[in-house]
Point group: C2
Chain length 261, copies 2
């Protein structure tokens, strides 16, 4: 997928079979991949409105939404100046010309609250949807000397609570949220969404039909009182095969949504 560029510090990677490209740090930092595509696929294909991609990195998930949903306007929200620079290079890259008008960047810490959050540009009720792929390894899980990677992978204790609080503030009533995370985080995520988002849907992603889930995608609707659903899982591969299942391949390439809507 990676194409070496003249720039020595970055790669240009194709997504959605070349519908858009990502400028990413080379050999360091968090490199976007399937997680971002699965998260983006949680947004309904007919979504229309403003969507915030929390902790957007170089913009993979946000651009994937813009690529599949022609009525989506996307704001990539990122706190790391270095990753933000990659997000800007991504948007301005000539290969993304068709999406450019619908994608912007915002330098902000999504863990901010109250006045600080508003002043950072995350205004109450200003969005229709928030997607997030929070750094999902607990600090003790995987220590690394790479500062960029640490920023993307190490999760503070109350991260889901803080990010969900911000999402709650900035989405309109009936707006949506989608989170991709490890199954181990399901209790924290449900606690963070409780009383804020309803109609929760949990969709497990398994590498194959006989293996435990490696990710969950959790979706919810602001201020809904509808109950929780545990959705049919996605199996990335058929049993005994190394190739992606047709469904996983379609979702990964922006040809189908994750929840079938």
């Amino acid at each position: 997928m990676a194409i070496d560029m003249a720039s020595p510090d970055s790669t240009l990677d194709a997504f959605h079979r070349g519908k858009f490209y990502l400028v990413q740090p080379k050999g360091s930092g968090h490199r976007a991949g399937m997680d971002a595509m699965m998260l983006a696929a949680a947004v309904s294909s007919d979504f229309s409105g403003r969507l915030a991609d929390f902790g957007a990195g170089a913009g993979a998930a946000g651009l994937a939404v813009a690529s599949r949903c022609p009525e989506a306007r996307v704001v990539l929200v990122e706190n790391s100046a270095e990753m933000l620079a990659y997000a800007k290079r991504t948007i301005t890259h000539p290969s993304n010309e068709e999406l450019r008008d619908r994608v912007s960047v915002l330098a902000a810490d999504v863990a901010l609250s109250g006045k600080g959050r508003t002043e950072a540009g995350l205004c109450d009720g200003a969005f229709d949807f928030v997607i997030m792929n929070p750094p999902f390894n607990a600090g003790h899980d995987r220590a690394t000397p790479d500062e960029l990677k640490r920023g993307a992978h190490v999760m503070p204790y109350d991260l889901f609570e803080r990010w969900a609080r911000s999402a709650t503030a900035i989405v309109k009533p009936r707006g949506g949220i989608a989170i991709i995370a490890r199954p181990q985080s399901v209790a924290e995520i449900l606690a963070a969404l409780g009383g804020r988002f309803g109609r929760i849907e949990i969709l497990p992603i398994h590498p194959r039909p006989d293996a435990a889930a490696i990710r969950i995608v959790v979706r919810g609707v602001r201020a809904s009182r509808a109950g929780l659903s545990l959705m049919p899982p996605l199996f990335l591969h058929e049993q005994g095969s190394d190739r992606f299942s047709a469904r996983a391949d379609n979702i990964n390439n922006g040809r189908a949504s994750l929840f079938g809507d």
Copy 2:
């Protein structure tokens, strides 16, 4: 499955293809079925030790464990005098002669705590495993004039917390717990197990591969620090078929465990 008996108030129902029978109230009360079989199947086939069936009703889940696990000794714990009478009739029924020596009943409210729980016969560290199929409809969900049914179906606000607290007290370190419930209860269940049981495994049960889960079975190990797993789901039917899948049929009939162990 039901065979009318001379007794006008009860039926005799075969489980595990006739390996054991249940004496149940006729046309009223909570009638045991697949939920109890799925819950019982959460116990490993090589389980050995004392198992408590919380809210046992007429004894379906507890007897199903005794039927599949020859080294299990089962205590049916039930608070309703009427259901307890059915549990006793079940145990003493001639068709259950082979299991009788390993199954007993205990009249106790599993929501008790402290001294009251001990005095009711639920002693600290006295069990190796607890299974529970708590009444799973919230009070407002389904009101019914049938008092027996109400007892089995209506769930007080903090039921999972109370039942988990009792299970925590009576199982030994490394002892197990298994709960069957609706997916809507997953947050409450995880909150109730948090800090008490680890190595949590959630196994979703779907009617068919394209439908949302209708039940979850949650299993845990007392005092374990291992993380949570979201296990491969059970599909009761193949897509487009009304017949049980082979796996569901085996589990329902005591020929296989739910988690494959």
